[in-house]
């Protein structure tokens, strides 16, 4: 069998033209059936010693193809592709080859599959978004399927991501994916790492780089430090960091490249937060997303390399979610009552200046002690940690270790006035896209809270946003940080803090235990606020350092 004709080309499936897709599917079918036949014939003939290895190898190859087909049969936005893929799988099965089945419970481990939009039942507008996404990446990933709760945001998110990864930009394509891998690896997010390893190889990246950052070009290695600081303690970024990257002789970054890299890093840091915050499952065609074992063998497989550290929590789902309905109902009512009070009495008792200042400091300080009880150190999985150095370096609170970090005043350097202009100058159009994304995330509202309608949630959203910025030391002069304490209860703060600072430690229990009466879509909404606020905070620190370097 010549290798060439066994190459399966998936790109034809991304076409919007159904005949093109049909041709591509037909080719795939032929190839797969040919392979299957070949494998069968090999199996039937007596084993020759030399064949053992190649047999295993080609079986492995076939299984990869089958897993991809499985993914297509579930996740392709085009109905014809889904049906045909399933048909091919069936025919393979009839030939006596074991076919894979998806593992887990849909795109998210936290959200029941039935809550999530099924591919195929989307409306026309969503279908366009799905088709665009599928055409760009050749897949519809689980992140997309969870974000689809908020189509307006999703559209902007996909547009930005597409631009960052595939459109004009100062960095070569494989660099972009590699930076994505670096960023995701900081949070041991193997979901994103796996996705981008595939993409990285697809755009012609050197597989050797994947063995660790030390195998990548010096230029990328230099970025490691910025990646580390940005992910965990962005307030420590100085213009010296920037200068070190820009003036490294032949390994120098250009300003435009650096801005591109910074945007990618912050994008993937926050996306890692989202992945963990919403418990995104591994992709069907990736490791851990499917199994070849028949259901009877093991009906629940904790093949969870993504969040290996909280498999224990999975069993506690019920106990955590066991709070009585009346309790949680009261929770929502109480929250709304507080919001009402704040709205009304705001003007009455004006807190003194000192009071206002101390409230920020208190909130900042307290945010450090907000941590889940199971706050144990986790050693990251080896395959992910090889992408970054210094695994011990993580989020550290401001003064826990005696560090004094000056407060970042957003009135002196904000995204709208300053960050935007800098990004747009050095990486045209991206400033606009990110600006739109921030805007949509910040202003997105359906005026609902759990079972209540027509609620002005702006105060709550602002509290969440500012709480995240507060954790990063970013202060709004015109915000009363006392509100945060009133509106965000402890379990919610634990969740926010964990998702934003140490996303790898998020558990289903944390997800379930905050805002119990709220809908999943609202919790995803919270996650959108978290990731955008985090991204903006990181960007502000990085861009301020770049601005200082330029001045």
């Amino acid at each position: 069998m010549a290798e060439g004709e066994n190459e399966v080309r998936w790109d034809g499936l991304c076409s919007r033209d159904s005949t093109t897709r049909e041709t591509a599917l037909e080719n795939i079918k032929q190839t797969i059936l040919r392979k299957t036949e070949y494998l069968r014939s090999v199996k039937e003939t007596p084993l020759r010693p030399s064949d053992g290895l190649s047999n295993a190898v080609s079986l492995d190859g076939l299984n990869k193809l089958l897993a991809h087909l499985l993914m297509l049969s579930k996740r392709c936005p085009f109905k014809d592709v889904r049906e045909k893929s399933e048909f091919i799988l069936k025919s393979v099965q009839e030939l006596g080859i074991r076919i894979p089945r998806p593992l887990g419970h849909g795109p998210s481990r936290f959200i029941p599959e039935k809550e999530i939009l099924q591919v195929g039942s989307e409306d026309a507008q969503m279908h366009t978004v799905f088709a665009d996404s599928f055409a760009a990446l050749g897949r519809l990933d689980n992140i997309t399927l969870v974000m689809v709760f908020h189509p307006q945001y999703l559209e902007s998110f996909l547009k930005t991501q597409h631009y960052l990864l595939q459109m004009d930009g100062p960095l070569p394509l494989h660099y972009r994916h590699y930076i994505g891998i670096m960023a995701a690896a900081r949070h041991q997010c193997s979901y994103l790492v796996n996705l981008h390893v595939n993409d990285f190889l697809h755009v012609g990246g050197d597989p050797k780089w994947l063995n660790g950052l030390e195998n990548a070009p010096q230029k990328l290695q230099n970025l490691g430090e910025l990646n580390k600081v940005l992910a965990h303690r962005p307030w420590l970024i100085t213009k010296e960091h920037i200068e070190g990257l820009l003036k490294a002789e032949e390994h120098s970054w250009s300003l435009a490249e650096l801005v591109h890299a910074v945007v990618l890093l912050t994008h993937y840091h926050s996306l890692a937060s989202f992945t963990f915050g919403c418990g995104i499952s591994p992709e069907i065609h990736c490791d851990g997303g499917h199994t070849f074992r028949p259901p009877s063998v093991s009906n629940y497989c904790i093949c969870d390399i993504t969040n290996g550290n909280h498999s224990v929590d999975e069993t506690q789902v019920n106990s955590a979610g066991n709070v009585s309905v009346s309790d949680s109902f009261f929770e929502v009512e109480a929250l709304m009552e507080k919001m009402r009070q704040l709205q009304e009495c705001r003007d009455e008792e004006e807190a003194s200046q000192e009071e206002m200042a101390s409230r920020f400091e208190i909130e900042k300080r307290e945010s450090m002690f907000v941590f889940s009880s199971d706050d144990e150190e986790v050693t990251p999985a080896r395959d992910v940690s090889r992408h970054f150095e210094d695994t011990s370096y993580g989020y550290k609170d401001f003064s826990r270790h005696g560090m004094h970090v000056p407060t970042f005043r957003v009135q002196d350097y904000c995204w709208e006035d300053h960050g935007y202009s800098l990004v747009n100058r050095l990486y045209p159009d991206v400033g606009q896209l990110i600006d739109e994304k921030f805007h949509i995330a910040y202003n997105l509202t359906y005026n609902t809270m759990a079972m209540h309608k027509d609620v002005d949630t702006s105060m709550l959203r602002r509290a969440i946003w500012n709480y995240i910025h507060c954790m990063f030391g970013i202060r709004y002069d015109d915000y009363d940080y006392g509100e945060i304490n009133q509106l965000l209860d402890r379990s919610f703060k634990v969740y926010i803090k964990t998702v934003v600072c140490t996303p790898e430690k998020v558990t289903k229990r944390m997800y379930d235990s905050f805002w119990r009466q709220f809908k999943h879509s609202e919790k995803v909404h919270v996650n959108l606020l978290l990731i955008e606020a985090r991204m903006q905070a990181e960007l502000l620190y990085a861009l301020r350092a770049i601005t200082r370097y330029m001045t």
């Binding site: 003007d347 200046q353 002196d412 006035d417 202009s421 606009q432 600006d435 002069d477 015109d478 601005t547």
Partner: protein, 872 residues
């Protein structure tokens, strides 16, 4: 009453004095405002709030308004404004949303007057009513604007913009009740202060936040807005819909905009990001700032004209913690540094050329643009005598159009369709292609094909009859090689090989070209293009300044009494020895590396200096009694290929390569075949005009298929000498393309060289002078017709040198051009290679560039005695 107050604040005879100066502040400034007495300025920032007196030599701190030990956010100012009627009244906008008023008349140390805590978010801007003492307006991040009466404790009215954060609010100077507000989403709203329920008018002014606005101090309806989209726009608000009357594109987001007093069209801007300078723009000239102040080292956050009627003092505060006073006379004026010329090719080869009026003023024959696109278009800027920058805006724009059809590339397609590249014997292919080329009017190419056929196909096979189409009338000679040349077709190539050299010439640039009658017209005393109908003469000599010596090799001259053709004595050493110094590849290499490689220059470079004795050796050689082996020409053919590639005609080069196949493949390395020609053809083409064109969007060829230069049509042997060193830079030196195609109306005669078939020269030399003597060059009317009219470009005609003599006996080689196979010593005839340099001006500069080489170039005249006389 209001009027009066303005008048009293006017200069009133005592002009402001002062100098450009700055003072250091303790902290970054966010905003500044000037007292109406023009002698004090207030600076406000996150941790600074001070009043400085502006003295003649320095700023003097007068008052620190930050009192009290406890730092308060109420004092963290985003904006500050000084009342223009009351010297004691100030207002600040705090980042925490508080509006504070200050009364300097208070006897206590704390001058804080009132505190309005109505806004929920940062207040971005405060503004006093220009004539009303107690009315203050604020605009906040929370999307509301509030109007305060300072006699009351609370706001009088609240205006909801319904569209995000308010970035600026400004009372109209003329309309008592009107104010404008700008928003983060790009909107501008107009409000009547009496009607808080809804805005009078709203329109989208910018893409993204509108950071600032400013009403024109005199023009009732003009509002300038500045946005994050880097634009300053001037709106006429008097019309029914706000009309954009001017738009200035800056290089960074516009943070502040302030109309300049007494200068109707001037405004000052600064940016909050990246760019630290302050610019003053004339809105009618939106591309170059009228003035620029570069003192600040960090972004400028506040600007204010010191006095509402004095245009020369500008104050500014910056994040770099300095307060500056800028004097207009000290401003740098970018206009002065701007290149006053511009040149641009249009999509279809049209050429637009703008230059300072003075540069083109002397030209005559210009016609103003009258809608006729056939004529160059001129725009002349009317100067406003009131303008402070007189003379800067005076320019003329000319548009040169390509003649319809002259730039047509149809032959390119035709050629591609009709060429035969394989499947037939070489001779047939060559003939076929020659025929195609000829029918498409590409004589040079046709000739090349014919020559290739001769080189590579044995003479015996190429019978005269098979060459009918290419046999001219006069070629009835018995030598088969000669038969295949029709001199009519030959003309372009020959013309190009002829060079004039002129060490002393006039200052006008000279153009050499072929004329119908194959006449050499010397450029005598600035006479141009004369006598194109002068009977044919044959040039074989030099035009040496006033001497004007012509060495003509026509039968009259070549009479038997002069057995030796004596070289005229020259004032400088004669040179050239080919036999002794066979030009090796390194010569060619040298040429290629030369920064100014042009055909003619390369020729010059190859003339190696030798001793003063003239040496010209011509030895009849038995070797050539029959025929030169094809190998002998392979280097030449390579040169020829390279020549076409360089010209941009990769089509020809590739076609030849394919047709010849293995015959030349070994001589041309793979890289040259593939990459080199692409590259040469596409990018690195040296001559000015074609390369300029190739850079234009239309002429972007697919890899490997370079379009031929539009400006140098095939076969057009227009040679403009003195090619400028730089292709496009100083406009005067740029030849606007082939004169053959453009019709320049007022353009100075430009030097420039089009590449010509220089590499073909040796080939022609070797093969196309079958008989002794010269033949007239046949007409080339199609080129002549396109030439500019007399007096507008020096176009002259030079016939090719066509000595006729038996090939068997002699072989002419242009000075050092022909790379000979090692060890082979052909008899050498030296083809006259002449060039003409213009004297003075640009020509001189160019000549200086070339060093003395061109000066010592000598004409090489064949010795009569060595040339067997034949025919004619």
């Amino acid at each position: 009453m209001e009027k009066m107050s303005r008048v009293t604040t006017a200069l009133g005879g005592s002009a402001l004095t002062g100098r450009t100066m700055h003072c250091h502040l303790d902290a970054p400034a966010n905003a500044i405002s000037v007292c109406r007495d023009a002698a004090q300025v207030v600076v406000a920032g996150r941790s600074i709030f001070k009043i400085y007196a502006i003295e003649d030599e320095q700023f003097v701190e007068k008052l620190n308004l930050r009192v009290g030990r406890k730092p308060s956010l109420n004092l963290s100012c985003a904006d500050v404004v000084w009342h223009q009627m009351d010297e004691n009244l100030l207002a600040t906008a705090a980042t925490n949303g508080v509006v504070v008023t200050w009364n300097l008349g208070r006897p206590s140390r704390n001058k804080q007057d009132q505190l309005f805590t109505e806004h929920k978010r940062t207040v971005n801007k405060v503004c006093f009513h220009p004539t009303e003492a107690h009315v203050l307006l604020s605009g906040s991040q929370d999307g509301f604007m509030k109007c305060f009466d300072l006699r009351r404790k609370d706001s009088v009215s609240t205006f909801s913009g319904q569209s995000e954060s308010v970035r600026d609010v400004q009372f109209s100077i003329r309309d008592y009740f009107t104010f404008a507000s700008t928003f983060e989403n790009g909107n501008v709203q107009l409000w009547d202060i009496r009607r808080p329920d809804r805005c009078e008018r709203m329109f989208t002014a910018h893409n993204g936040p509108v950071f600032c606005c400013d009403w024109h101090p005199e023009d009732r309806g003009w509002l300038a807005t500045g946005g994050r989209d880097k634009m300053v726009k001037v709106w006429d608000m008097t019309t029914h819909r706000a009309k954009e009357v001017h738009c200035v594109q800056t290089i960074a987001s516009v943070a502040r905009v302030k109309w300049r007093p007494e200068c109707r069209h001037h405004l000052a801007t600064c940016s909050m990001m990246v760019d630290h300078n302050i610019y003053v723009w004339d809105v009618r000239r939106p591309f170059v700032p009228a003035a620029m102040f570069e003192e600040h080292r960090d972004v400028t956050t506040g600007i204010a004209w010191r006095h509402p009627h004095d245009p020369s003092f500008l104050l500014s505060g910056s994040k770099d913690s300095t307060l500056c006073q800028h004097l207009f006379r000290d401003a740098s004026q970018p206009v002065e540094r701007a290149n006053p010329e511009g040149l641009c090719y249009g999509l279809f080869g049209d050429l637009a050329f703008a230059a300072k009026e003075s540069l083109v003023a002397t030209e005559s024959g210009r016609k103003p643009y009258a809608g006729d696109r056939r004529h160059p278009i001129f725009f002349k800027r009317k100067l406003d005598p009131a303008e402070p920058f007189v003379g800067l805006a005076s320019s003329a724009l000319s548009v040169f159009e390509i003649e319809p059809g002259s730039g047509s590339m149809s032959w390119f397609v035709d050629t591609a369709e009709r060429y035969a590249l394989a499947g037939r014997p070489l001779a047939e292919l060559c003939d076929h292609n020659a025929k195609v080329a000829r029918e498409l009017g590409r004589n040079q190419v046709a000739q090349t094909w014919t020559m290739l056929r001769i080189i590579y196909c044995s003479p015996g096979l190429a019978s005269a009859t098979s060459l009918n189409h290419s046999v001219g009338k006069g070629s009835s000679c018995g030598v088969p090689l000669m038969n295949s040349f029709n001199l009519k077709d030959m003309a372009p190539g020959l013309g190009s090989e002829t060079r004039l050299d002129r060490s002393k010439g006039d200052t006008r640039s000279d153009t050499v070209l072929l004329d119908s009658s194959a006449t050499l017209i010397t450029n005598e005393d600035n006479e141009e293009t004369e006598g194109s109908d002068v009977p044919a003469d044959y040039l074989l000599g030099d035009v040496e300044g006033e001497e004007e010596e012509l060495y003509l090799l026509d039968p009259e001259h070549a009479h038997p009494e002069e057995p030796e053709y004596v070289l005229p004595q020259e004032a400088f050493p004669l040179r050239h020895e080919i036999v002794d110094t066979p030009p090796g590849p390194e010569h060619l290499q040298d040429k290629a590396d030369s920064p100014h490689v042009s055909g003619s220059e390369a020729d010059a470079a190859s003339l190696a200096p030798v001793d003063s004795s003239f040496s010209l050796i011509s030895i009849p050689h038995a070797l050539y009694d029959t025929r030169l082996p094809p190998d002998f020409f392979s280097a030449l053919v390579c040169d020829m290929l390279r020549f076409y590639a360089e010209q941009g005609d990769v089509q020809m080069a590739v076609s030849v390569l394919i047709v010849l196949g293995e015959r030349v493949r070994k001589d041309i390395d793979e890289q040259t075949q593939v990459g080199d020609w692409d590259e040469v053809g596409r990018a690195s083409l040296p001559p000015p005009a074609p390369s300029a064109l190739r850079g234009s969007p239309t002429a972007c060829p697919p890899p490997g298929l370079c379009l031929p230069p539009l400006l140098a049509p095939p076969g057009a042997l227009v040679r403009v000498l003195h090619r400028p060193a730089a292709a496009l830079l100083p406009l005067e030196r740029v030849q606007p393309g082939g004169q053959a195609q453009h019709q320049p109306r007022h353009q100075l005669p430009q030097p420039g060289v089009h590449h010509s078939a220089r590499q073909l020269q040796p080939l022609q030399a070797a093969h196309e002078q079958p008989r002794l003597g010269l033949r007239p060059v046949p007409p080339l009317r199609q080129h002549v017709r396109r030439l500019p009219p007399r007096g507008q470009g020096s176009v002259r005609v030079v016939p090719g040198l066509q000595s006729r003599r038996p090939l068997a006996a002699h072989h002419e080689v242009a000075g050092g051009q022909l790379p000979l196979p090692r060890g082979l010593r052909p008899p050498v005839r030296v083809l006259l290679t002449r060039r003409r340099w213009a004297r003075g001006g640009r020509g001189r500069a160019w000549a200086a560039n070339k060093g003395s080489r061109s000066r010592s170039l000598r004409p090489l005249v064949p010795r009569r005695s060595l040339v067997p006389r034949m025919g004619l």
